[in-house]
Amino acid sequence: MGGSTATEGAGTVANGVPGRIAVGLWRCAVLTALTCLPVLVAGPVAWAGGSLAYSWSAGMTAALPLRVLAVVGETLLVLLWTGVALWTVHPFTSRPLAGAARRCAARWLGLELSVAYRRTRPVVRMATGFWWDGHEYHRSEREARRRAAVHARYHDPQLHWDGVWLLGAAVTVLPAAALPLLALLLGALLTAAHPWYGLLLVAAGAAAAPFGWRVLGPVGRRLLGPVASTRLGWRVAELEAIRADLTQTQAAELERIERGLHDGAQARLVALGMSMGAAEHLVDRDPAAAKRLLAEARSASAGALDELRALVRGINPPVLVERGLVDAVRALALDAAVEAEVVSRVPARPERPVEAALYFAVAELLTNAAKHARATRVLVELHYEGRTLTATVSDDGVGGAAASPGSGLSGLERRAAAFGGRLEVDSPVGGPTRITVAVPCELS
């Protein structure tokens, strides 16, 4: 103990051993203060309650089973009283104490534990003239507001979880943080009578001080965080954002397809019909002109076919349908403007949506490599491991790619997120760039 432990986390400023001991003592004292409440409440109640309850069976001369029963009953009574005492102080004390502990964890360990408490519901005036606070009706608005506030405050899952923290901390954090202080105190008192023992105790306390408070880390990580329902709430918010994104992308995509059909193929088919109609009229009077129009009509039909083909390729690339991801990416590499090599370790075909997502991601990354990164060589790796399908596109270009909002990369990131996937961008300025799209999926 007392070695050269590197101080970590935010806010550790003390230098040297004495500084560290002082800071440790201070933090131990703060933690002791923040976690001792359950012991302060339960201790006296249990002691007083115990002496009261056990006084009944003291000196009892009944048969042994009866005496055992009495003691068990008295013990249960003491536990009940202690529980009631703890439950009474919990609503008023748990939240501020847990909040203070969270602030300590953030300042000392850099542990960010964000939680959300329930907010007071707005009260509503009903047609009957009563006020509804979300649970009950009240005659006055003031009463309804008060009750809503009380309800939000005392029926909060996070508040009850804070109570669990307080109980848990009382048996874990408290002993670890209080012992150095206790050793110091006892040592100081003992020095007068037994100088050696006293000094030894003081030294032990001082040496333990920089470490005692660190128990806040592991315990806090488990008990100071948000409750499961809050986590779920956050996940729901995240999913809602993704869904909004998806519906927007989908709408844009539909619009693009509609425009492609309307302005392209459809217009060409109209032109085709017109030239054929004109040719029909001309065929007797001016066969040469009719022939020219028919030739035009044929080239218009070829143009329409080309446009339809391009459109289909944009919606659902034929090779992807016919051969699956690996060959489709090979075909992409063959058509790419840069030299592209494909390495693949994918044992089976993934589901269609996943396949399409990765295909379009690789297509976009290849385009980026050629256009923005000015690369000359690209390596595409497809890989499946640990239930995750990854596509990595590395190039030798100029680098500096980032998934800033509104960029193509952030679009890719959002689309990957829709599948529970992620985008990793490693692109220092000056290159090289390495971008990975990873999507979790099941391959048989």
Binding site: R298, R309, V312, R313, P318, E322, R323, A331, L334, E339
Partner: protein, 218 residues
């Protein structure tokens, strides 16, 4: 000629049958799925088969797979693959065995009956008939490790037309050259690609293959 047609869309299949019959050929079998195509190819050993890439039952590349399987069983069996889209990947697989008698064309080409029948004829004769779209993509690619870097611009365009499957006479007509000078260009191309000749047709296929391999090397 005896022809097998494999196409799942009734209208197209019927149209093609009528088209080749109008040109005086016989359709020995007209089938509409992959297994039937393979069976018909192996049973009839036609002078040429016209096969759609995407066929039932899976609607993936059944037709292509049937053609490849048939050519493994009967080397050099002439097959003209029709597709809604053309892919270098598929062109490579078809040409990989080095035999002639391969065509790979966009379905649109059927619109021009003369051109289409011309391609059928070339494939039946053991030549190649690659779609101009494939060839354009091949030629449009920047090539690196390349035996083709030595080719001149003129030789490249001759090679492109050769890849489409045109004869020297046809290339001459396309490029406004004399047939003799086209002959000189092709000899130069074979020389630069190191293809010593046994028979002209095979060298042409191998020239295209060399091109494909140059693309793959990169």
């Amino acid at each position: 000629m005896r022809i097998v047609v494999a196409e799942d869309l009734f209208l197209l299949r019927d149209g093609m049958v009528r088209l080749v019959e109008a040109f005086g050929h016989t359709v020995v079998a007209a089938v509409d799925d992959g297994p039937a195509a393979l069976a018909a190819l192996l049973e009839h050993r036609p002078d040429v088969a016209v096969v759609d890439v995407r066929l039932p039952p899976t609607f993936s590349d059944e037709g292509l797979q049937a053609a490849l399987a048939a050519r493994r069983a009967v080397p050099g069996l002439p097959v003209l693959i029709l597709s809604q889209h053309v892919e270098q990947l598929y062109a490579r697989e078809l040409l990989a065995d080095g035999h002639g008698g391969i065509g790979y064309q966009l379905k649109d080409r059927v619109l021009d009956a003369g051109q289409f029948m011309d391609a059928v004829q070339r494939v039946a004769d053991g030549g190649t008939a690659l779609d101009p779209t494939v060839v354009a993509k091949l030629l449009g690619r920047p090539l690196r490790a390349d035996p083709l870097g030595a080719l001149t611009e003129r030789e490249r365009s001759v090679l492109a037309l050769m890849a489409e499957g045109l004869s020297n006479a046809a290339i001459a007509a396309r490029l406004f050259l004399s047939e003799g000078s086209v002959g000189k260009y092709t000899t130069a191309i074979f020389g630069k690609l190191g293809l010593v000749g046994d028979e002209d047709t095979n060298r042409r296929v191998r020239a295209v293959l060399a091109y494909l391999d140059a693309g793959r090397a990169g």
